[in-house]
Amino acid sequence: MAWIDKQKNILDFTLSSLLRRKGKNAALVCVYTVVVFVLASIMFFTHAIKKEAMIILKDAPEVLVQRMVAGRHDLIDMKYADEIKKITGVTSAEGRLWGYYYDPLFRANYTLMVPPEFKYQQGEIAVGQGVSRSAVTEEGNIMPFFGMDGKLTSFRIRELLSSESELVTSDLVIMSEQDFRELFGIPKNRVTDLAVTVGNPQEVVTIANKIKKQFPDTRPIIREEIIRTYDTLFDWRSGIMLVVFSGALLAFIIFSWDKASGLSAEERKEIGILKATGWETADVILMKFWEGTVISLTSFLTGMIFAYVHVFFSSAALFEPVLKGWAVLYPQFRLVPYINAYQVATLFFLTVVPYTTATIVPTWRAAIVDPDSVMRT
């Protein structure tokens, strides 16, 4: 296996010559690692949150029906629900009551919501972890809300929603139907929107079409659409981050081009010696190939490891300010590390391919040094 021994010998020489130029190569590896790290963090984060959203939302209502008035979302009459229930294939149609509440004291937006079955009494509420954090309150405390008439109503907190469901419940305030209607002055037969369940999942689209036809003033939203929208949303966001970051990527490419083409006199002489003593151009290119491989592999692995730790152990601490913006209620969650070979391959493509392309021509230029150049100087 002369071929394998040749690769081994050349790799061996490459490693020793890389180690001889520690400073120069360390700088390259550092920059490379940072590039991989940032890209990998973005991708790990968005993929994990996408996947988590998909899993969490798979039990969301199958079809939501909203009423539109003059292009705006409006309350819907429960009569619609009775009619929809009559459509064949529909198992149930229930009203949902929910809305937003801006708390001027803590400058936070809560989502107020009525669950299908409320466990507690009137005048009692359950709140999400984010609400309890921002309002510095806990179980048993009193929480005041301004009603539609400007009067202050107080509620007793009976429960804090579990912290493990924070990704969906952080800003929720759950109360009884009566309280909700009184607080916002919603008439008895009106609800925010309708949640429709369908027996056969393959009929969902047909039924949504039927609803749209029967009630032209509504807009049905299918669960798959919600999931799809989230998918696009996060793809888009990670894409935008990549585009923003592409300047840095470009800088890295130019940097590696420059590193590869800016051979010192010492290196040039060294390649001249190699060629004079019997190395062929292809052998020098092979050596440079191994050099690139070693650098890429080291940086790629290091960058990925750091990104993993960053995203999944520290909950993307470096991104949090960006993602959070000025949201007061930001859920505290730790992502499940969904990673697959596809992501790694994409990452590889995004970093190693540009690096390799940038170094092909400089590598070749270095490799064609004339062997007799060492005799002429």
């Binding site: 949504a208 079409n209 049905p220 894409g239 935008i240 990549l242 391919v353 540009p354 070749w364």
Partner: protein, 330 residues
């Protein structure tokens, strides 16, 4: 357009590959015009040095094509949730008219790059580079295809618009038949099996004949090309059904998934290895008589034939095996 990281990666990669190939073609033209090995002029020495660059670029391009082919499929697959009616990569590729042409070009370019490398390998072993002009003509032939691929792929990705919730209504248009494959017609099972097995047999016999007696190189190449196409067609219409154990799911890409133990990679890799080395045998056939190549070309051809035969045999074995262990009976 969907700003997905993998899409950005594929687009950037393709643009870079095209640029490199255009750059190579430029020197290819110079080589075709002014190559003269007997001359020791600086122009000639310069051109000889260029050949190293172009070989390197082509080797990278070959690897790039292979990886990007799979990444392309994977990306299409991961995007399928964004389109109504798309269940897997097959559906996503059908979202606009550029998907499949881009995919087919990707396939073709990978094979062409492989053939170029075979030619290059043979040529580099002959001390007078007898194929140099032919080699660079082939390069000039490949470049437009790669550029076209980049172009189509860009159009494809630019034309992707996710069907998300819009302001007035949900996206309720249902698109049917997205998962069907264009240009692939199925025959009844028995003729299809007959065709597949006879193509395999033809390749086997002609390959064995070539390997043992050195005759019928062109025939063997023709057979390997036919077998490649027939097998791909058979894979999509028959074998996958046994793998999915569903008589209606024809997706040629789902077999790359984990649920099917990534068996697709084996199927496609053996097909590629088979067709590239099979075609390589015929490609080298005209050059057996060239003085400087006589000593080693037959040996390369034999090795290629062996690779082709082994690959197709593996494919055949995999096919028969999956069909026999499957719970599906047809």
């Amino acid at each position: 357009m969907i700003l997905h990281p993998a899409i950005l990666a594929l687009l950037a990669g393709s643009f870079m590959a095209s640029a490199m190939l255009l750059y190579s073609s430029w020197f290819g033209i110079q080589i075709i015009r002014s190559w003269d090995l007997r001359s020791g002029s600086e122009l000639q020495l310069g051109l000889e040095k260029r050949t190293y660059l172009i070989s390197t670029i082509m080797s990278y391009a070959f690897v790039f094509q292979l990886v990007s082919l799979f990444l392309f499929i994977y990306t299409a697959d991961s995007l399928c949730t964004l389109f109504v009616g798309a269940m897997c990569a097959a559906g996503t590729l059908n979202v606009n008219v550029y998907g499949y042409p881009a995919f087919i070009l990707k396939l073709g370019n990978f094979i062409l790059a492989g053939l170029w490398l075979i030619l290059n390998y043979a040529d580099n072993r002959a001390h007078d580079y007898p194929l140099i002009r032919k080699k660079y003509l082939l390069l000039l032939f490949i470049t437009p295809f790669l550029v076209a691929e980049t172009f189509l792929q860009t159009l494809y990705f630019l034309g992707l618009e996710a069907e998300v919730i819009t302001s007035c209504c949900g996206s309720l248009f249902s698109k049917e038949g997205r998962d069907s494959l264009p240009l692939l017609y199925a025959l009844p099972l028995v003729p299809m099996k007959l065709l597949f097995y006879s193509a395999m047999a033809g390749t086997g016999i002609s390959g064995f004949r070539f390997y043992s007696r050195g005759k019928g190189a062109h025939m063997f190449s023709a057979f390997s090309l036919v077998t490649f196409m027939v097998s791909a067609w058979f894979l999509v219409h028959v074998i996958v059904l046994y793998i999915y154990e569903l008589p209606t799911h024809h997706c040629p890409f789902c077999i790359f998934k984990k649920e099917y133990a990534y068996i697709g990679y084996l199927f496609y890799m053996t097909l590629f290895a088979g067709v590239i080395s099979g075609l390589g045998v015929g490609l080298l056939r005209p050059f057996v008589k060239i003085g400087s190549m006589r000593s080693f070309v037959p040996e390369i051809q034999k090795r290629l034939a062996l690779i082709a035969l082994a690959s197709y045999a593996t494919f055949l074995f995999l096919a028969v095996y999956t069909m026999s262990v499957s719970a599906l009976r047809m």
